[in-house]
Symmetry: C2
Subunit: 169 residues, 2 copies
DNA sequence: TATTGTTATACTCTATAACTATA
DNA sequence: TATAGTTATAGAGTATAACAATA
């Protein structure tokens, strides 16, 4: 399983094409490939979202965790990780950081597992993050008609669900 | 500038949703977000492409370099890096590896820069990589009508070109 | 002075292995 | 035996700083 889902480093991670346009004598035969277009669009959006969320001290992955915990109060760490494609081992420092900041609470569930929930502070942070994400989505959604947005989402779902092991077509 | 463009580790990097579906008691409020859909689709495609290319010992970034050098014989390392969004410092080991494998040649251009080109072996590898990428694209393209593919590409271009600094909408 | 290539370095993301304590 | 959490570690990808040689 991969952790590729979440991500986007909130730091200085400017957009891919910053200087590319200045190299006018070169052909870019790769730029028309679907895979690279997806990569560019994804990277652009996540970078952008990352810098927006950074204003409230959250990385995309942290916003994702807060929002998902909010929707699933009492969920346990390992299930949360499975849902989001984050490995158990990599969940540890993520959850520890949110705990340390007082955004989430962890109560023993069955002796080996712990139920996660948002603290009041976490609820606030979550609401703020959702607001930022909403604005961010609206920004990009404005580029497309409603129908094109639906088509885009549908196409992305199809692609995301097809790739796994079915690559031999 | 970012290097986010290229990528996809060719190793064991199975698809994001492998186990997620087994966590049926959890809501996934993030999965409908455009950013995360993009991330998932991108990750799925690049992972898949990575494992296809791995069969011929190439990573996606290496295939990208070969194809771009093929389209721009004599290009210099720094311009290639700028075009692909790879930093000078990070180009060094990439180019060194291709050189060591005898896939590319490097001849002095002006004393400080070197012109890059494919060797016959590199041409072969490049052709092979392009074939794999073609098949791979066809795989995913088959999921969509021609018109939907055009719409998808257009939408991705729009998103990729909009994100950079224009995030304040 | 600016650019090309390079070295060194560091941080993030992701992955595996192995340990513990429970179930 | 299998699971939840943890620790340690390793490999990519990406970032910056600084240096030498050249323009």
């Amino acid at each position: 399983m991969s952790e590729g889902l979440i991500v986007g480093r909130g730091r200085a991670n400017h957009h891919i094409m910053d200087d590319a346009t200045s190299i006018s004598y070169l052909q870019d035969p790769i730029s028309q490939r679907l895979g690279y277009l997806l990569r560019r669009a994804s990277s652009a959006m996540m970078t952008d979202l990352g810098s927006s969320l950074a204003k409230m001290g959250l990385r995309p992955v942290e916003a994702t965790l807060l929002i998902t915990i909010a929707a699933n109060p009492g969920c346990i760490q390992s299930d949360l990780g499975k849902l989001l494609g984050i490995k158990r081992a990599n969940m540890v420092p993520l959850i520890a950081a949110l705990l340390k900041r007082g955004l989430i609470a962890k109560v023993p569930a069955d002796g080996r597992s712990h139920a996660l929930s948002l603290t009041p502070l976490g609820e606030e942070a979550c609401a703020g993050a959702e607001k930022i994400i909403d604005q961010h989505e609206a920004c990009f959604a404005a580029l497309l008609s409603n129908q094109d947005q639906l088509r885009l989402r549908k196409a992305l779902h199809l692609i995301a669900r097809t790739a796994p092991a079915s690559s031999p077509c």
